[in-house]
């Protein structure tokens, strides 16, 4: 009976606690713990029952808790340039000062890197492996400068998945159970389906989803999409949103959704509340981003090649033509009034294509867009005044367009 009353928000918090407590406890019991990149083939780790912590999630939590500077200062003190991704700076510093008010995590015994989100993580994970003297399991995902993934890249990935399995077997001393992998694949796909279905409900006007919630739920997509808990959470979340939608409810109880926008890029964790409140003040709901699809890692169960392929087709690893087509699709599907681009000082792979994507999306769809300067966890790159001005400007352009009947 208790169970039915549990909200997805409560469950999300429970799972977050369970995730970190589990890892800390495992470490205390002398069991190995891994650190992995956010869009990693967690299916492999789940099959081996590994305890995996995700440094990007952790750094984001530190950022949101406004304690990033302690780590950033330390990282810069030991030679990390201020130009380096702030997640990496925070995490490398955490290996020296392993305590955060936001959350503690155990240091890893093995580190797992999949470079589909950027090459930065390859360098970052090398540094972890070297500094902590732990093995590194690495999946290289060649950048797709062609629209589709070339066959030889898929073959290469498949080979790497097999090598990674071998490496993980050696590390864990366990034999890899392919039947279990099949089960995990099935569950992972099902979880992704609920995640996608939930975030797709934002296509309705008004959207039952407040897009900033998506940033929070995403952390669980990163770490639990291959297990029963994650599956249950996203199903529950979907059901709640569906009920809200059917009741005709919008994203907030205290305000109406007047404008629907997409947020391009990562959240500004240290300024989460400011960025959210400023939008809400104008009735702007962030209804989508590129993230729903990035964690919608889908393939046929028992198809390791398909799974390998699925891990290289995320937005960040695709070319500009794909990126623009994808954004255009979001503008149409989500009935967007505008786009807000986060020029994220940390993330060169996202930034240096953004100007052209922005121009093209404007030209293809006619909707107004704006851009602001920020950083996902380094609080220094963001200016509240600039953000507010840019958002105001966007509102004016959106109004003009609405007045002109779209």
């Amino acid at each position: 009976m208790e169970e039915t009353k549990l909200t997805s928000k409560q469950f999300l918090n429970e799972l977050t606690a369970k995730h970190y407590d589990g890892a800390l406890q495992a470490k205390a019991e002398g069991k190995p713990v891994a650190w992995a990149v956010s869009i990693s083939p967690q299916e492999l780790f789940e099959t081996l029952d590994m305890h995996v912590v995700y440094p990007e999630n952790h750094a984001a939590a530190i950022g949101a808790r406004k304690e990033a500077m302690k780590f950033i200062d330390h990282a810069e003190g030991i030679g990390y340039s201020a130009d380096i991704c702030s997640y990496a700076r925070i995490n490398m510093a955490y290996t020296d000062i392993p305590h955060a008010e936001a959350q503690d995590i155990p240091l890893p015994d093995v580190v797992l890197c999949s470079a589909n989100i950027c090459t930065t993580v390859m360098k970052w994970w090398e540094n972890l492996a070297k500094k902590l003297r732990v093995p590194l399991v690495f999946i290289d995902t060649p950048f797709n400068h062609t629209y589709e993934v070339p066959d030889h890249a898929v073959e290469y990935l498949r080979g790497q998945f097999e090598s990674a399995i071998k490496q993980l077997e050696d590390f864990s001393g366990k034999r890899f159970d392919f039947d279990k992998l099949g089960e995990v694949m099935k569950l992972s796909n099902a979880t992704c389906q609920w995640w996608k279905a939930a975030t797709d409900l934002a296509q309705f006007t008004p959207s039952p989803l407040n897009g900033f919630d998506m940033f929070n739920y995403m952390a669980i997509m990163v770490c639990m999409r291959g297990n029963a808990d994650g599956h249950k959470l996203f199903k529950l979340w979907y059901e709640e949103l569906l009920a809200k939608k059917e009741a005709g409810l919008g994203p907030w109880s205290s305000a109406e959704e007047k404008y629907r926008i997409m947020w391009d890029g990562i959240a500004c964790w240290p300024h989460l509340s400011t960025t959210f409140k400023t939008l809400k003040k104008y009735g702007i709901n962030m209804v989508t981003s590129t993230y729903p699809e990035s964690w919608n890692v889908r393939y046929e169960t028992n198809d390791l090649t398909g799974m390998a392929r699925a891990y290289t087709v995320n937005y960040a690893n695709r070319n500009l033509d794909f990126g623009t087509d994808y954004l255009k699709k979001l503008v149409d599907q989500f009935n967007l009034d505008g786009v807000l681009y986060h020029s994220n000082r940390s993330c060169k792979l996202m930034d240096f294509r953004q100007y052209e994507v922005r121009r093209r999306v404007e030209a293809m769809t006619g909707i107004p867009t704006t851009m602001f300067d920020g950083d996902q966890t380094d609080p220094r790159s963001f200016s509240e005044a600039q953000y507010e001005t840019r958002v105001q400007g966007l509102v004016e352009m959106m109004d003009k367009r609405k007045a002109a009947g779209r």
């Binding site: 130009d83 970052w124 540094n127 290289d140 060649p142 950048f143 080979g159 240096f352 100007y355």
Partner: protein, 376 residues
């Protein structure tokens, strides 16, 4: 024998005027040119397709047009390349080949297609899992894909044996560079920091078959002289490239010689020889990448770079390492804290210079170099 000195002067002049040198190389060889972006590029394939591969390592220019494609916190080398491309400076090229070894390069690869449509781009994506069977298979396929793209561009077929011949020529060139580099250690006065860099750089603008013979002659000329007595400070340079050139002249003023390097633009390109094996040229090329060590753009979980620099300092009696840190080059920046600690632990001092190609005022750098020189 002074003709090796004339050759040195010739190559320095060639490197000082890249546009003129490239034009002359194109005229002399009757070949069309393909631009090669920084870091590893399979020049053998370009050469086999009868093109002249020329280096594109940025340069000093006003940055305006490129700002419509990228934020100002992008490395100046890529901003400069895009600026030149958009200005039309590269219109004489038949195409460019670019790799995707860092996040910036991936973006520039995409931006180039739109910003500089008149100069076709052939991207090449190297395997970072360089040593595994699947990595080697992938590289072989990727190299062949590049050949195919060049065949289409040029409208002619290129046989494996053409690539094999080009590879052999490049192996000879790389061996000549290694010999030259090792020889320069004994001639730090003739081959001062500026001269050494420009002699090496000239190779980016010339046909390697011509250039390598000049390098061999310079090496032979140097070897015929008695080793130079040098009372200055010997150092090793590391980083992307040791520019701007003005900085090298400040080294010279302060009696500092660069007696070896770990630079992306210099020895990382030729320090690794191909394996002497029976396999196909594609396999040899892939294995040569697999054998690279300590290169920050190539995956290496045990990061041997620091260790290699410490060894090089010992072997070449260098007292210190000079870090040319290209501003905003994050792969280079990531390596720094790791090798910094290793150098510190080994008692090898280092000078950290943050550089970019657009610097106009060198006073601060001069002061830092002077202060650095005083500690020895």
């Amino acid at each position: 024998m002074s003709d090796y000195k004339e050759l040195i002067a010739e190559l320095v002049a060639a490197a000082e005027t890249p546009a003129k040198t490239i034009k002359k190389s194109m005229e002399d060889t009757g070949k069309k040119a393909i631009g090669c972006f920084p870091l590893h590029i399979p020049e053998e394939i370009i050469y086999a397709c009868n093109y002249l591969p020329v280096g594109m390592w940025g340069g000093k220019t006003d940055l305006k047009l490129c700002d419509t494609y990228m934020q100002s916190f992008c490395c100046t080398i890529m901003r400069a390349n895009l600026e030149y491309g958009m200005k039309g400076t590269y219109n004489f090229l038949s195409g460019i080949v670019m790799n995707a070894m860092c996040d910036t390069l991936k973006c520039v690869c995409e931006d180039w297609k739109i910003a500089v449509p008149q100069v076709p781009i052939i991207p090449v994506v190297y395997a970072q899992q360089r040593k595994s069977e699947e990595g080697i298979e992938y590289m072989k396929a990727e190299f062949k894909r590049v050949r195919h793209a060049l065949e289409k561009l040029e409208g002619r077929m290129v046989m494996d044996r053409d690539v094999e011949n080009a590879y052999e020529m490049y192996e000879d060139y790389r061996a000549a560079m290694r010999d030259f580099d090792a020889t320069c250690v004994n001639y730090p006065i003739t081959m001062d920091a500026y001269t050494r860099h420009l002699v090496i750089k000239a190779g980016f603008f010339m046909d390697k078959a011509v250039y390598k013979e000049k390098i061999k002659a310079i090496t032979a000329g140097l070897k015929a002289q008695a080793p130079e007595k040098f009372d200055g400070i010997r150092v090793i340079a590391t980083g992307l490239l040791s520019e701007p050139n003005e900085v090298l002249n400040i080294f010279k003023e302060n009696n500092i010689a660069i007696v070896g390097d770990d630079l992306a633009q210099e020895s990382r390109l030729w320090r690794t020889p191909g394996r002497d094996i029976k396999g196909s040229v594609w396999e040899k090329m892939a294995l040569r990448m697999a054998d690279q060590r300590g290169d920050c753009f190539l995956y290496e979980p045990d990061k041997q770079r620091g260790e290699m620099m410490i060894e090089m300092c010992k072997a070449r009696s260098a007292k210190a390492v000079v870090v040319f840190m290209m501003k905003f080059c994050d792969p280079e920046e990531f390596d720094y804290p790791i090798y910094k600690k290793e150098l510190d632990d080994a008692g090898v001092p280092h000078l950290y210079l943050e550089v970019d190609q657009m610097i106009d005022s060198f006073e601060q750098i001069r002061t830092r170099i002077q202060a650095f020189a005083e500690q020895f």
